[in-house]
Symmetry: C2
Subunit: 149 residues, 2 copies
Amino acid sequence: MAIEHEPQAPAGTGRESTGHEGIGREPGAERISDAEYAVMESLWQRAPQTAAEVCDNVCATRGWTMPTVKTLLARLVTKGVLATEPDGRRFLYTPLVARNAYVGTESRRLVDRLFGGRAAPLFAHLAENEALSDEDIAEIEHLLRELRK
Amino acid sequence: MAIEHEPQAPAGTGRESTGHEGIGREPGAERISDAEYAVMESLWQRAPQTAAEVCDNVCATRGWTMPTVKTLLARLVTKGVLATEPDGRRFLYTPLVARNAYVGTESRRLVDRLFGGRAAPLFAHLAENEALSDEDIAEIEHLLRELRK
DNA sequence: CAATTCAGATTACATCTGTAGTCAGTGAGG
DNA sequence: CCTCACTGACTACAGATGTAATCTGAATTG
């Protein structure tokens, strides 16, 4: 099929491009994979960025090449967690889900899966494994005092 | 090739059956997937169990059939997180990694990935999202007092 | 002892992930 | 104006995962 030359949402809008779906399609519903997460990190740090900029930020550390970043960006757009905005001939990518929200769901997932939805056992685990620094403890105590109020 | 009739470690003992492994092969090194985790849960609850018993425990809730459970069990054995012990003509499966250990690594992974290895921000998130029950808070306070000592 | 049944082994297959290569259009430079 | 570089789009492909069917041998049962 003919490809429009105007920049448009990259990659496979294939099976669900109709956009009419009422249920289960809110942005961020899709899981973000490990590799994708690295890309998101970069964009959460600063947005919007071009693909090249994202690569500058992550390719070195992860040992990736541009094509890899491109693919990941495309997938993230497909998943609905990144928005694209044409800027001349390239795209600017912007997160559609706040890091905060993502982190929230992920933490929740873990707590639900592993600790029956209770945060205390998680905390206990971290404590047992000495995953808590003194600083952590201090901060948590502070937060607790806040909550108490 | 002829298959020995005596029950033996199911599936792909292929590349690492020698047992002499020195490096990088400690049990539990492999990641446990979501579906596999359900199987492990059952076995952590009670062990050893036969495949049929595990299915009794999870097939209903997850909408699985026996073959699925078999596959998952086989994969878990391959991954080195389940041990098998012949019992008549079937196998008894037993976890090789304690739930505790698994839960520990997973929590750690999350904290590392999402919160830069610090537990306090995780805690803050849970607090913000009201993921903390009063009970949780009480328990955590108790744990904190323990730690203080 | 033969037929049935049940367990594990093998195979299947679509999707997702990690990681990349290639193609084609568009704007920039000569 | 033509060529080249850069960018996004498409294709690739192996391994993991979710989910299951089929095959085969062995144990149970009549």
